[in-house]
């Protein structure tokens, strides 16, 4: 091993693998093209000041969502490659992916979709929406928020670097030992996996701390707990879970790293190691992780259901209690991921029953959404399509989950395609549909114009049809004995079903293409679709009180909250009286200054991570020292906030009042 370059040699570049090489070239060209485009338009200063170094929760939220969507394309490319390969690798057909390549693809698909698609998208929505809904100006720790984002981006970067330099893990998305131990996975793939997740995991823990503090300590006057919108409640639950679960992931991955790098014996076959310890630890994180993702998604659906039904959410308090019950019970079910471990009938029964119990509060939620819509004047905008699609599908996915929670059934279908169908069946309608609903719902708040409805609905139908085609046959294949992660399928009678699944994947590809086209089309026709009032959907929560896009400080004066549905109450009062509340006493506003700390720390952590993967120890030390130096330098700063002058605050606030008065006149003339 070279002292300068560690294990890194030219052999790490995949020149003999046409697919990896071509992808690398395309991605590098695309990045270079973007760079040239941004440079040619002189957008770097704008990006640097308004996004990269911004501590504004809205900008950070948008960056998270962009990161998530870009990684979605990567994760989906893996998915469609797998489906195409499965179709071609039946019976006599060899398929087109070698086993070691196929194994990397399914590992990368799972890792990316959970950690670098679902997580950034969900955290992105929490960032954008929670402070607005709480009626405040930013999160508790704005700079830390920026650091969290860049650490996530650093992890995503390393996963993508594995495509060009070296390889990715071939061990599945949770890297179970002993397969992931040095003896059986000597390459850098597992190291890429471990290091990328450690770096992004630190960012996620910091996000959890930040949002719990924000929700519990920073709310508008009068915004007591039982007046918070349900999305804030579900975000609270999700971030509590992050604080309680992600440190366990950090430990689990650190122990595996110690095994791999220093020859420890936590999970090895020899030396007294116990690989089942890894299963327990990783699922103590892994099961709450499911709820970290799906609870905020439930929050999005709650907002959508209430807004587009024109009614308060049915059973607000039961929704809150259901959320918090799920938050707690989610820590008592992890063993259902390995009933086959052999813990005995008693242990399995306890965890099986707990897993069924967690379905109860989820069922409460479904009824609440249904009763919210019942008797309402439902407006069928795109988010409602996703809401309905979700309710229709998710109940089925949940039922197969209850089935899997019965240990004897689980013994039969464990590790099968039935399981693969089940978790896609809950996570795509549960999380992905919610993300698309939220994207359509809050897009006008973020950018000041709505997305095209017609294309949005076309996208929904492609998703809906595509999902059903792509995953329902897997239930059957699972019952017929199909195990997951198979690189070759010997039974030729499965071919038609695999063809159906491939067609489903094409439909989903069409959905993604339509989403891109919808964005471009909506930007081009934005003048006709401006959201001039800041309240395009007749909303009920405080984010619709301010303009679209909101000013940096969100609210000129923090809103006073009286009762649930803070904004709806205020709006109805204004319509009734045909006047706004009296002009408050404006003050200059202090906001946190921009800082490049996050991006520089992420730079050093990426360097350090890359160095650890390739055993380049001097560079790893340099990365740690660099990150520490940035920390000290940042802590030394004297300027913490900048003041927005009162003239600017008043001018913006009066403009908003004028717009709202116009809207009020329009409403009163129409009634």
């Amino acid at each position: 091993m070279s002292p300068v370059f560690g294990k890194l040699t030219w052999a790490a570049i995949p020149v003999h693998e046409p697919i990896a090489l071509a992808t690398s070239v395309v991605v590098i060209l695309a990045i270079a093209g973007m760079g040239i485009w941004i440079t040619a338009n002189k957008w770097w200063p704008y990006l640097w000041h308004e996004y990269i170094t911004s501590c504004d929760h809205k900008r950070i939220g948008i960056m998270y969502i962009v990161l998530g969507l870009v990684m979605f394309v990567r994760g989906f490319a893996d998915a469609i490659m797998m489906r195409a390969h499965q179709y071609l690798a039946v019976g006599e057909g060899p398929g087109y992916l070698a086993p070691e390549h196929y194994n990397q693809i399914f590992s990368a698909h799972g890792t990316i979709m959970i950690f670098f698609v679902a997580m950034p998208l969900v955290i992105g929505f929490m960032n954008f929406v929670v402070p607005l809904q709480l009626g405040v100006r930013d999160v508790a720790f704005p700079t830390l928020n920026n650091v969290s984002f860049w650490l996530n981006a650093s992890g995503a970067l390393l996963v993508n670097v594995s495509l060009f330099v070296g390889e990715f893990a071939r061990t599945g998305w949770l890297a179970f030992p002993p397969l992931s131990e040095k003896m059986f996975s000597p390459g850098v793939g597992v190291d890429y996996y471990l290091v990328a997740l450690q770096i992004s995991g630190v960012g996620t823990v910091l996000t959890g701390v930040n949002f719990v503090t924000t929700i519990l300590k920073i709310r508008a006057p009068g915004m007591s707990y039982f007046r918070m919108p349900v999305f804030c409640w579900t975000s609270l639950a999700s971030n509590l879970l992050i604080i309680a679960a992600f440190p366990v992931l950090t430990v689990t991955l650190a122990l595996l790293m110690l095994d791999r790098y220093l020859g420890f014996h936590f999970f090895t076959n020899d030396g007294g190691g116990n690989s089942m310890l890894y299963m327990n630890l990783i699922w103590v994180w892994g099961h709450p992780e499911v709820y970290i993702l799906v609870l905020p998604a439930f929050g999005i659906y709650s907002e959508v259901a209430a807004t587009f039904s024109g009614k308060p959410l049915f059973g607000y308090r039961s929704m809150v209690f259901a959320t918090m019950v799920i938050c707690i019970v989610s820590f008592t079910v992890w063993l259902h991921h390995f009933f086959t471990m052999g813990a005995g009938a008693d242990v399995n029964a306890v965890f099986g029953i707990a897993s069924m119990i967690i379905g109860v509060p989820t069922g409460v939620k479904i009824y609440n959404w249904l009763f919210t819509m019942y008797g309402g004047r439902v407006r069928f905008n795109v988010p409602v399509y996703y809401l309905l699609g979700f309710m229709l599908l998710f109940v089925g996915g949940g039922l197969t989950g209850v089935l899997l929670a019965i240990p004897p059934v689980d013994f039969v279908v464990h590790n099968s395609l039935f399981l693969v169908a089940h978790f896609h069946h809950v996570i795509i309608p549960g999380v992905v549909f919610a993300i698309f609903a939220g994207y359509h719902y809050w897009f006008p708040k973020a950018f000041g114009f709505t997305l095209d409805e017609r294309l949005g609905k076309a996208g929904f139908w492609c998703w809906f049809v595509g999902f059903n085609l792509a995953f329902m046959p897997s239930y059957l294949l699972g019952f017929w004995g199909g195990t997951r992660r198979m690189q070759h399928i010997s039974d030729p009678s499965w071919k038609p079903w695999l063809a159906v699944e491939l067609v489903g994947a094409f439909f989903i590809a069409a959905a993604l293409a339509i989403t891109v086209w919808q964005l471009l089309y909506s930007i081009r026709t934005r003048e006709q679709r401006r959201d001039l009032t800041g309240d395009p959907w007749d909303g009920r929560t405080l984010e619709w009180l301010t303009l679209s896009p909101p000013p940096h400080y969100n609210f000129a004066v923090l809103p006073d909250v009286h009762g649930e549905e803070a904004y709806w109450h205020r709006k109805q009062l204004a319509i009734e009286r045909e006047e706004l509340i009296p002009e408050p006493n404006y003050q200059p506003i202090e906001m946190p200054v921009n800082t490049p700390t996050g991006v520089i720390v992420a730079f050093f952590s990426s360097l350090c991570g890359f160095a650890i993967i390739w055993y380049i120890w001097w560079l790893a030390i340099l990365g740690v020292v660099g990150a520490f130096a940035v920390f000290v330098w940042y802590a030394w700063r004297d300027e913490h906030e900048h003041i927005i002058p009162i003239e600017e605050v008043i001018a913006n606030a009066r403009e908003r009042r004028r717009i709202r008065m116009d809207a009020l006149h329009t409403v009163s003339q129409s009634t």
Binding site: R137, D138, A140, G208, L216, F266, N274, D560
Partner: protein
């Protein structure tokens, strides 16, 4: 209107009293320690996973040395004394800082660091002794989990010492500013939390491990 309250949003009068959250955003002197407590909580979760690992591997000695053959209560007692004293003088430093007494603040912080260093030296000597006697972390799953649990605590103490150094430099260069005092408070929270974890290590690893 204090600048603190104005940072995130200004509280203003006239809102009704609902018992919880009616006052609007809390001031930074509440928010910062609160957030730091949550971070400490996440750290305690991290250690609880390491304790669980230790507990499930403590008998997996692979025919190698066991807890009774390795651990000495005397060393652990000295380590405990050093760490508890360190925390005590850390508390004194915070009191001195609240009185804006630069000299005593620095003296007590130096003492905090020295006791922390003494703790670390004891711990490293123990580690070296074990490794030299063939009981390194690669020997068995039990020793892997021992070195990781205790070493992780030691790594926290080391990080704390680095933090302490920058803290002292900041207080020296900038004086007792509001945000620097908040950081000092966070540091003491961190230092006390490491004590709590050490007490658990002392009990679970050293005391139980040396039972006859």
């Amino acid at each position: 209107m204090t600048t603190e309250a104005a940072t995130i949003g200004m509280t203003h009068s006239g809102s009704e009293d609902t018992g919880l959250g009616h006052r609007g955003p809390e001031s930074k002197s509440i928010v910062v320690p609160y957030g730091f407590w949550l971070f400490v909580l996440s750290d305690i979760v991290l250690f609880s996973a390491l304790f669980a690992t230790y507990a499930s591997l403590v008998h997996a000695t692979d025919y190698g040395p066991t807890t009774n053959q390795l651990f000495s209560r005397t060393t652990a007692a000295w380590e405990t004394a050093a760490l508890l004293l360190s925390t005590f003088v850390c508390g004194l430093a915070l009191i001195a800082a609240k009185r804006r007494n630069m000299m005593w603040t620095q003296v007590w912080l130096v003492a905090t660091g020295l006791f922390g260093l003494i703790f670390l030296i004891f711990e490293l000597r123990e580690f070296v002794e074990f490794i030299e006697s063939g009981a390194g972390p690669q020997r068995s799953a039990f020793l892997s989990s021992f070195f990781t649990l205790v070493g992780c605590h030691g790594a926290h103490v080391t990080a704390g010492l680095m933090w302490l150094g920058t803290m002292m430099a900041q207080i020296w260069a900038k004086g007792f500013r509001e945000h620097i005092l908040r950081r000092l408070l966070c540091f003491t929270i961190f230092w006390h939390a490491l004590d709590i974890i050490w007490v658990a290590i002392f009990t679970i690893v050293y005391l139980i491990g040396t039972l006859p």
